[in-house]
Every structure is written in structure tokens, then in C-alpha cells.
């Protein structure tokens, strides 16, 4: 779901970044946030609501609404819409409030 052609903006091919989504090796590109990389892969379901376990996705893209919170490198509640993607990040769909973080 990457934009290839655009009348105003230039989206040149950037460096590939390998990361993990629920244990599976996937790729994003330099300049991506975690959420944009996942969305480009067609992954919209990022977490589940705490009580009813309903699917949760991206919403505000400014790090405000908490809808895109995921578990990243073991840390729960990472705002994936404003967190830049880094090589080898271990990104997991969050269950509920997420597991306690062992730093």
C-alpha cells in the first residue's frame, strides 16, 4: 500500500529496514514509523481493547489517542504512530494492558 506516483510529492525508494512483527521477519523503509511500516504491509490490527478484546488500529497519528499502542522490544504501550522504525525491532500485537516490562 505504498504510494508510487504522486503529483506533488516524491517518494523515492529508501533503505529497507528489517524488523519482526509477531515473530515474523518483515520489512519497512527508512523514515517509517512502526505504524506506517505495518500499514504499508496491510497490517491494520495493532492491539486489542482491554476488556472486550476488540481490534484496535491507528487513529490520530500524533501520539495522542493510544489506539496504536503495541509491545516493542518487550516494552508495552509504545505509541507506534510516532515511534521511528529501527532495525530488528521486535513488534508485537499488544494484548490488553501489555505484559509488565522487564528492562
Amino acid at each position: 500500500m505504498r504510494i508510487r506516483q504522486h503529483p506533488i510529492l516524491m517518494f523515492t525508494e529508501k533503505q529497507k529496514i528489517q524488523f519482526y512483527y509477531n515473530g515474523k521477519q518483515v520489512y519497512g523503509y527508512d523514515g517509517d514509523t512502526i505504524a506506517s511500516a505495518l500499514h504499508a504491509l496491510g497490517i491494520k490490527n495493532l492491539s486489542h481493547s482491554i476488556h472486550l478484546k476488540r481490534a484496535r488500529g491507528f487513529y490520530c497519528a500524533i501520539g495522542n489517542c493510544a489506539s496504536c499502542n503495541m509491545e516493542v522490544n518487550g516494552e508495552p504501550n509504545v505509541r507506534t504512530c510516532i515511534t521511528p522504525l529501527k532495525k530488528d525491532m521486535d513488534v508485537k500485537q499488544q494484548v490488553g494492558k501489555g505484559r509488565p516490562y522487564d528492562a
Binding site: 504510494i3 491507528f58 487513529y59
Partner: protein
Amino acid sequence: MHKEVIIIGAGPAGLTAASQLLKIGVEVMLIDRNDLVGGQLTKQTHMFFGSEKQHASKRGIDILTMLDEKLKQYPNKLTVFTQTTVVGLYNDKVVTCIKDDRYFKLSADAIIIATGASEKSLPFENNDLPGVYAAGAVQTLMNVYGVKPGHKVLMVGSGNIGLIVSYQLMQAGVHVVGLVEAADHISGYLVHASKIKRLGVDLWMNTSVKKAIGVDSVEAVEIWQLDDQWQGIPGTEKQLEVDTICIAVGLAPLTELLQQIGAEVVYIRELGGNVPRVNKHYETSINNVFACGDVTGIEEASSAMIAGEITGIETALKLGYHVPNHTAKLTQLHCDLDTLRQGPHGSKIRQGIAKLGVQL
């Protein structure tokens, strides 16, 4: 670390406030939770309206480059913290932040809150499904990261954001199935509405979303007509196959930090919700804490940039700086703001400011 002024939020208001302060000779620390500075300007590929002074017919992204260049002239006076979230604000002008898992304190003589606003949600069945996204968020996804939100989109709301993002979705190659508006008329500029209409997008007035349909993400949407009390009319339901529903029903000022520090906040519907009670110098009820931009009332980026300039000058004056010709400059800036707020599209903001009871 201590600086004379801390600005929270590096969007149009925060950046212009910083630029004014730096020009006057004041040290500034600029904090933003995003990776990129610019706030909403980072994704505004459309040309601005207004007069040339407000950068009309320049694209938001180019205005940002210009502001960025201005700030780069003052490397010794400016510190920028990106990917930094302010989590606490205290009366002694201490600001606590988190960046990269590290918690630290900053302090200043004056603080400018330019946190902007967040997009509102809309109540309907299944409005929490992935695929229901704020329109501005979709604009960021496309124009900053080059990613499409989906293949087929229903836009909800005919304000300028709804209209402009519809057009930008089409520029990105996404099919806009239609646009619904609960009111009986287009609420944004007709020029934007005409543009998407000409491209074949249906604009349905007196219509809203009844429910989103899908299991783990949006697969379709059911829309229905509304009566004059904005209630859905049974029997008028229509199902559309879409994978994305964009919500463009307005914004609410982000006043949490102001409330945390105990600044007086009032609810003014026309300004978008809770806003700080600022005086004409854009100072809140707390000494040396200023606020400008959308956090003081939802407007356009052009107005936020002027308000930022005013606040920059006012803050410098409050800190005892000499600002040459400040009276004339401030009068001119206020006059520019008044001009932007003229006409039927400015009536809401004019009413809101009248309720606030100050000359902003």
C-alpha cells in the same frame, strides 16, 4: 537544563513563536513528541489561502522549510528536543520530559504552550474498528510516510480537512467512494468541494454513518439520511463497500498540560472545547505561562502562525527585552489576524473569541 523560554509543541504556532524570540535574542528550548518538527505543516501539500503575508499560495510543506531555515540561523540560542513527550508541568516553570526511556527535567523563565489539537471521534456502531481513522491522520500517513490508508474510502465531514484530504486521497491514487455531511450544507470552502465534485466524488448532505461493518477491520459502511433534528431516518440506509472511513468532524484543543499546571480553562464550543483563558498578550491565568495556536481555539495554520509571532513578541516583552517598534508590530499582527477571521467562515471563531471576552 535551563533556558529563558520553553515552547511545548513545534507546530506552526510554536515555530513562529520560537523564530520571533530568537530574532529578539531570547534563548529557546523547543519540545515536540514527534520525530519531525512542523506539526500539521509536515503533511500539508495544499496551497494556503489568505494574503501573501500569510504565505498564501505556498504549500504547508514549503512554509515549514522556510520556518526551519529561519530557526537554523540561531544554533547557539536554540535547543530542539524531538521525540520528547512532556509529562509534567509545574508552577515553578519546571517541565518534566521523557525521551528514549529517559526521564529528565528542564526549566525556564517563561513557557509557551503550543500543543495544538487532536481530531475528534464520532459515535456510531463499530467506530473502533481498524480502518476508521481520523482524516488528518490519514493525511500524515500518505503525505509524510507515503502509505495509503486503504483502497476505498468514505469521508465523513465536509469541513476543509474533509474536503482537502479527500482530494489528497485521490492524488495518492485512493478511491474516494463519497463524502457524507450531517448538516445541510458544505461547511468548508466551496472551492475545495467543487474540486472533488468535479472529480466525481458524491457529496451527500444530511447524511451520516449508521455503522461500520467488519470483524477485525472495516469491510463496509452503512450510511443513512438524517432528519432536521440530526436523527437517522430508518429505511434510508445504504451500504457502501469501503475499507477505510475517514473522520473529519473537527478538532479539540490539547489543554491537558494547562489543566495540570492549574491554568484557568473555559469551555467554549465555538473554539472547539476547553481553552485556556488567555489575556490579550496570550498569557494564561498563570504568570509567564503563555498559550497560542490551536490550543487556544481551533483555526487554520495561517492564524496559528500569526498568533505564534504575537506570543513570541509578548513573551520577550514580559521577560524585559527591548523589542524595537513592538507596538506597531503587534497592532499589525492583530490586524492581520482580524483579516483572516473575516467573512462567513470566520464567524465561529469570532463568536468564540467574543465569549472569551478578550481581543485576540
